[in-house]
């Protein structure tokens, strides 16, 4: 077992005990959380993919050890932001609730035997919004992956740029793009897995700059939020609009992969990339 996971897991326990039962938001089935976890947080009745914590995601994706990158990069409060609450208080609440220090965990681990740079966003921390720390950790991850010539897989889940950090948050789109470009132009392989939801600044930057883009079933993916579009056009949108299946049909993404098959699919993708690379190295 990786060193850091049990420790994170232990911290997570009380929260899980407090909510032993979960209700499926799709079919209203009441589910025992342990069964839900065993089924990879997919409703056994209707197949609804629950939003996952980054820690759980790493746990079901990585074999063995995971060496975290950028864990010591923590949010500041450059705008001394206050709306209905102080930004600092919101961050503290999210830390408490999610047991995370920010909305992404990055690091290096193995997927199906392939050493891979891995980033996992978590919607439970500030709605997965990208502020400086998310941008910085993603950039650090890609820089490390470039140095080590590793493939990179990033799981996205984000409401967009983090407004509480103002323009410094918007500039993280530029920062992550710079890192992706440098990484890819060097002949490396980037895969993104878009999970529910992936919108705004994250979808308009690294999420859609990958070599292969996969998505989980029914994940909501788009640039503008559904509400904004409905307000603009003054009509209700069809249910399947902006879903992963909709994007697949429109040709925006490569594949929709059920969570149960995701690790196997990532392993196959990493295998193709490795095959290509060894051929390049041999020539």
């Amino acid at each position: 077992m990786p060193d850091w996971l049990p420790r994170r897991r232990a911290k997570n326990e009380p929260a899980e005990d407090a909510a032993t039962w979960s209700k499926c938001p799709k079919c209203s089935e009441v589910l025992y959380r342990r069964d839900l976890a065993a089924n990879l947080w997919v409703c056994p009745r209707c197949g609804h993919h629950f939003r996952m914590s980054a820690v759980d995601r790493i746990n079901i994706t990585v074999d063995g050890d995971f060496k975290e990158i950028g864990a010591d990069v923590l949010p500041g409060d450059p705008l001394e932001w206050v709306d209905k609450k102080k930004y600092a208080a919101k961050l503290a609440g999210d830390r408490e609730k999610s047991q995370l220090s920010e909305a992404v965990i990055c690091g290096i681990g193995k997927i199906g035997g392939f050493e891979t740079a891995i980033g996992v966003m978590d919607f439970h921390f500030r709605g997965g919004t990208m502020g400086t720390v998310v941008g910085e950790r993603i950039a650090m991850l890609l820089e490390r992956a470039r140095d080590l010539r590793l493939p990179c897989v990033i799981f996205t889940a984000s409401g967009g740029a983090r407004m509480e950090e103002g323009m410094l948050a918007l500039m993280q789109l530029a920062k992550t793009t710079a890192a992706v470009a440098r990484y890819r132009e060097d002949g490396n392989f980037l895969v993104t897995v878009l999970t529910d939801p992936t919108t705004g600044g994250v979808s308009a930057s690294f999420a859609f700059q990958a070599d292969v883009i996969a998505a989980e079933p029914k994940a909501m993916i788009g640039f503008a939020g559904r509400r904004v579009i409905e307000q603009t056009i003054r009509q209700k949108l069809p249910d399947q609009f902006q879903t992963a299946e909709f994007l697949l049909e429109k040709g925006h993404i490569d594949m929709v992969v059920p969570r149960a098959d995701l690790k196997a699919m990532l392993t196959r993708l990493l295998d193709y990339a490795a095959a290509g690379r060894s051929r390049t190295a041999a020539s």
């Binding site: 850091w4 923590l74 209905k84 407004m163 323009m167 470009a181 132009e185 640039f223």
Partner: protein, 326 residues
């Protein structure tokens, strides 16, 4: 209603009155000069009151002023401009204008967001909100510029990317993401000027640049003040407060190191002296291109990388729970 239009109404009345008196004064033997002087005094006093220190919210309105010079007004002052159309896939988006141009003697690629000046033109230009095909035209022109070795000059002026059904169906996210990528890898100098509104990712798509110039009363924001207020306060009427908190003025962005320089506007805003404002902006763009053009492509790209790599504010701290970090 635009706040600035409202506030300047009285001034415009006074201006008219002064002009009338001047005319009367010239035509008649009657001496009205003291009356004129008094009015002029009053005029400049009101002007100072209104425009002396504008709040961020007033600046947002100034940036949206219907008479504010738009991108085509700037492009018209280039020595030459040959427009290139379309994204080669779907259609020509009129919210984006671009093509070969000469700024003085220097050949450049100019790429701009273009809003309309009246309702009819705004409908044609979608209020300056580009669709994916617009952003694909941007990519195409940026790529061509890089291919030919022509510097890129952009003008940013948009509320944001178009948020419609068609735009989502044609992958607005991917279109913007690919613009960011194209500007990032471009081997040529890029100078971006925010002339009005810099609305979020839709504006960023034209402003990954080696030099960012902002007009004194332009703004550039992660979200529109109205949108931010609706989301974070659940109350769109808090837009004025959001505008102040978002730190979106040119002066704020200069402090953050995001904007590199600010071009001053005449009292009352750029629309009170379009010709003067435009010539000052073009001079600054020219000077910036002059400095950047001497740098080899590799050095230019490295500097661009480092510039964006540095932006942000965070703190570092060793977490007790994480010991395996390399």
């Amino acid at each position: 209603m635009n706040l600035i239009v409202e506030r300047e109404r009285g001034l415009l009345e006074l201006e008219k009155r002064i002009a009338e008196l001047r005319e009367a004064n010239a035509a008649q033997s009657l001496d009205l000069s003291s009356e004129i002087r008094a009015l002029e005094e009053k005029y400049s006093q009101i002007q100072r009151e209104i425009f002396g220190s504008m709040t961020p919210w007033q600046k947002v309105h100034m940036a949206r002023h219907p008479n504010r010079p738009t991108a085509s007004d700037y492009i018209a002052e280039f020595a030459q401009f040959d427009e290139l159309h379309g994204d080669r896939h779907f259609r020509d988006d009129h919210a984006i204008v671009g093509g070969f141009a000469k700024l003085g003697e220097r050949a450049v690629m100019v790429i701009a967001q273009q809003r309309g000046r009246d309702t009819k033109e705004n409908l044609r230009r979608n209020f300056g909100m580009p669709s994916p095909e617009g952003y694909r035209k941007v990519q195409r022109l940026a790529h061509l510029a890089s291919h030919l070795g022509l510097p890129i000059v952009t003008f940013v002026d948009t509320k944001g990317a178009d948020p419609g059904i068609g735009s989502e169906e044609r992958a607005q996210s991917e279109a913007i993401a690919a613009c960011l990528y194209e500007f990032t890898i471009a081997r040529v100098p890029i100078v971006a000027t925010v002339i009005g509104e810099g609305g979020s990712g839709g504006a960023l798509a034209l402003s990954i640049a080696d030099r960012i110039i902002m007009l004194e009363h332009s703004y550039y924001s992660v979200a529109s003040p109205e949108g931010c207020a609706a989301i974070l306060w659940s109350d769109a009427s808090k837009a004025e407060e959001a505008a102040a908190r978002l730190k979106l003025t040119a002066q704020d962005l200069l402090q953050f190191g995001i904007a590199d320089e600010i071009v001053p506007e005449p009292t009352g805003g750029a629309h009170r002296d379009p010709a003067g404002t435009i010539s000052r902006v073009l001079k600054n763009i020219s000077d910036a291109l002059g400095e950047l053009s001497s740098l080899p492509a590799a050095q230019l790209k490295e500097a661009r990388y480092q510039k964006y790599r540095r932006i942000g504010a965070w703190q570092t701290e060793r977490l007790e729970t994480v010991k395996t970090g390399p």
